[in-house]
Every structure is written in C-alpha cells, then in structure tokens.
Subunit: 273 residues, 2 copies
C-alpha cells in the first residue's frame, strides 16, 4: 500500500509555478486517522485556519477537506493524513497575487507503528547545535518553511536519539525536532510559550486541555536548558505518536514519571497506539 | 509567450512528495539572459553549489544545467531563467533520505522591462515592520524558505515603494525585499555582511568586484538604519535589474550620486538594460 496523493482532488502532479514550492508559501497539517476518522480534526483545522489568516491565504472550505479525506480514508486501519495548503500558482517574484487560488494537496499514507518501548520506557533526546531563528510573525503556525528542522535532523543522522532538542537563537528551549516539550516541576507542568519560533502542536493543545481536566497546573513560559535538565519529568508530544516520556536527556537518565503516566492514560496514548 | 517549465528535463508537473514543496528543502537561482547567454552564470552556479553543500544536497552537474538552458533560451531576446534544485522526493518526516535524488526545475520566462526612471531617478524604499529571523546556518544561500520575504511584500501592497527595507531581529539593516543594499559614506562603499540572515546576491558580488576595479573601498559590515538614513548615496542591487539608486528612503529624498553612477556605467547597468 502506497501513499495516495490528490492535488486539488486530482491524481496529478503539482504546478511547477506553485508558490508552495517556490517560496514555502503555504501551510501543512499531519494528522492521525483511526477507523475512518481524523483524530482532533477540529484542532488541526483551527490551526490551519489561523495560519491561513496570518499569511493572508484564503482558508479552504472545511466541508470540502473533510469530504475529500472521508472519501479516501481506510475504514478500519489507521492512517496518516497530510494536508498541504499553498497560496497556489503565481507569477514570478515574492509579491503574492492579489486574488490567490490556493492549492490543496492531500496525502493518505499507511500507518507505521512506533516502537512500544518509546511509550513504556521513554525516548532519548539530545540538544541540536542548530538554533531556531526568531520571528513572531511565523511562530506557532505550521508553515512550509522547514529547512531548520531538516538541518536539525541532519545533525541526528547517527540515529542515537529519537528527538533533537531545539533552542532558539537566544538559547530558550522551544521543543523537539518534530514535537513540543513539557516538563514537570513541583507537580506542575511547564511548556515553552511558542511566541518567537516553533509550532503550537495539536497534541500540545490536547495536553494543556487534559491537564485542566486533571486539575494539573500548566504554564506556557520561557524555559532554559537547565530548567529542562533539572526537571522531575520531561515528555514530548506530537499528533502522530501522542506522548513520549523522555528517558535520556544528554547524559542524564530520567524515569517515566507519574504525571506523564496520568496524562498518557487520560489521553489514551500508549504503545498500542 | 509564456513561461517554459521543465521538471528534470520534462514538461511535467512536480511530484507532490517533493521535499522542496513539503519543507522548502532546496535552493533557487534567478538569472538574466541576453542573446542566448546567462549573465554571470559562474557566480550563480557558485552560489548554488555553496547552497547544496551547506544543505547536503548533491550539486547538479554544471554541464547538464548549462545544456538544458542553452537548448531552450531564445537566441536574440532577453529572458529570465529560474532554476530550482530540491532534495527530491522523500518519505514522510523532516529526516532527509540518505541518498537524495535532487529535483531540477527550470523556468524560462519572457523578459519584462523595468521602468527607465528607476535607473535615471532612483526608486522609493521604506522600512518593513517584519524583522528577519537570524540563523547563520541559512544566511547567504538562496534557499526556498522565503515566507519572510512574502510577508514583507504583503506590507508593500499599496505599491508606493519599489523595495522594502528589511532589518534583522536585532535591528541591523540586511537589504531590500528582493535586493542587497549598498551605502556610500566618505566616498567608500559599505554593505551588510549577510552572516545571520539575508541572501548574498550575485549582483552584490559583481558590485564588490567592480568597486575593486574602480579602486573604491568596500566594507562588509553591520549597518544600522541610521547609517543608511544618513548616507551620501544608497543603492540596491539584484541579478535581474542590476543597480537601482535609492531616491527616497522613508521621508528622506536622495540624489543619484557620483559613486552609484560610476558603478552603473562600469557594470553597464541602465534603463535600456
């Protein structure tokens, strides 16, 4: 089973003049689907809509996207659904066309299971050399300009860690290479504020909501590397794998802690999915 | 006459799985061609090669690119040649494939003349609100992640200026929205160093070489906005338009100065070319 690609609903290639390719002028969402349903589609669509507004790209119709996904999603098995929305084709130059016709690209891929031990025992993390550039205009949204994450991944080619830890140019912790990060200190949760760089993940938002339901306090704040290094518990989140406890951070070993376990249970995150 | 697009030598669409689209994982060059020849192809290819090395993308063969351009370039008229090189198609996730097969996209477009008055009387510039994020790993090369330039252009939608002036997050002047900038002070040239953000333009390099030939001193340095505002002469450069004197910078009016004119003559830049 291979990935199914649909470009504006057609099984075709992408216009080489598309501004998504030319300038990274667009957004994407990567979603987990189970039994014919996209998990947390509300949150994904909400972030896409915010991104479109921030970039002045017309937001694609929600029913159109939902219908297209539903028509192609396997009914029983899990799947990965990726949606790219670009400003569409344009003439030469950075200047956006006055009336953009967005391009919608949908990819439905077979699910690939993550190792059960990543949930049970936790994952390994080390700090990347690369620092994220800071631009509040681009912070939070999931835009297509991701060379920083690509370069960070190139640092991790030895395969010795499951996530790299990314700091911003000022040395604040932002998150993992493809995840958000939470720490537990004194029983309370803290997570980077994501106001200067980084992506506000859908799972990050789900964890913040779950914490409220469990009467756990969460602070969105600036975190230094030493805050993470000295925390009682550390975990990373993304929409596909959910929550992974951090078992190793540089030289330090951490146990999977009780707050992390409570959140994983509450959000039904585990080795079986 | 429309743009001719070739994707790996074929008149086809782009693979939706291409990492250039997914992550801005690639580079581009925009070149000016005259009478069947690309101007300063050496410098364009050199920057592309540097970019490929920095991003760990195999550099496309020079003879292949030159041959493809030569086969399609109009023999007499001017043209705009754009080359995109991406890391090629990949599986899901930021991690680059171990043996990437780069994608080569070539676009040959009809030339569009710039207004003669931009050369004779100069252009208008105003400072953009958007500040460029700083990342030395991405500075200088012409990679595909250009949302900052797109957002800067959105600020200029009123059409009242020909270039926006871009500062970095720390407030240093970096360049125009699609150009590099030079100032003249005490008869000497100064231009931003382009070590933390911005693109090292081909025309910028040509101006630095021309200045040496004319026994003008050039310093690549940090420039503050007040340095540009108080300069004797200011001009912007890019590979398509060449050199434009700056006639208006915010509220300030500037004359087209003698150093700018000398460089324009030496490099054969003018309203007819």
């Amino acid at each position: 089973v291979e990935t199914l690609w649909l470009v504006n609903g057609e099984r075709s290639g992408v216009d080489p003049a598309d501004r998504g390719l030319a300038y990274g002028d667009g957004l994407f969402e990567t979603m987990r689907a189970e039994r014919g349903t996209v998990k947390r589609f509300d949150l994904h669509y909400e972030r896409l809509r915010e991104g479109c507004e921030r970039l002045a790209i017309p937001t694609p119709n929600r029913a159109l996207i939902e219908g297209e996904i539903a028509a192609h999603l396997p009914a029983q098995s899990r799947a990965i659904v990726k949606l790219i929305v670009t400003r569409g084709a344009g003439t030469r130059g950075y200047r956006p066309p006055p009336h953009p016709q967005p391009t919608r690209i949908l990819a439905i891929s077979p699910w690939v299971d993550y190792p059960a031990k990543h949930y049970a025992q936790g994952v390994r993390v080390r700090t990347c050399e690369l620092r994220l550039g800071e631009n509040p205009h681009l912070a939070g949204i999931k835009h297509l300009c991701r060379l920083e994450q690509v370069l960070a991944q190139l640092e991790l080619r030895d395969g010795e860690v499951e996530q790299g830890l990314l700091l911003d140019a000022s040395g604040r912790v932002i998150g993992g290479t493809s995840s958000n990060i939470f720490i537990v200190r004194g029983g309370n949760l803290e997570t980077p504020a994501i106001t200067r760089c980084g992506i506000r993940g859908v799972m990050r938002r789900a964890v913040i909501a779950a914490a409220a339901e469990l009467a756990l306090r969460v602070t969105e704040t600036d975190l230094a590397l030493r805050d993470v290094e000295s925390a009682n518990e550390v975990f990373v989140t993304n929409a596909l794998f959910g929550i992974w406890p951090v078992a190793q951070l540089g030289e330090r070993r951490l146990d999977v802690g009780p707050v992390t376990r409570r959140l994983m249970r509450h959000l039904e995150v585990g080795g079986d999915g």
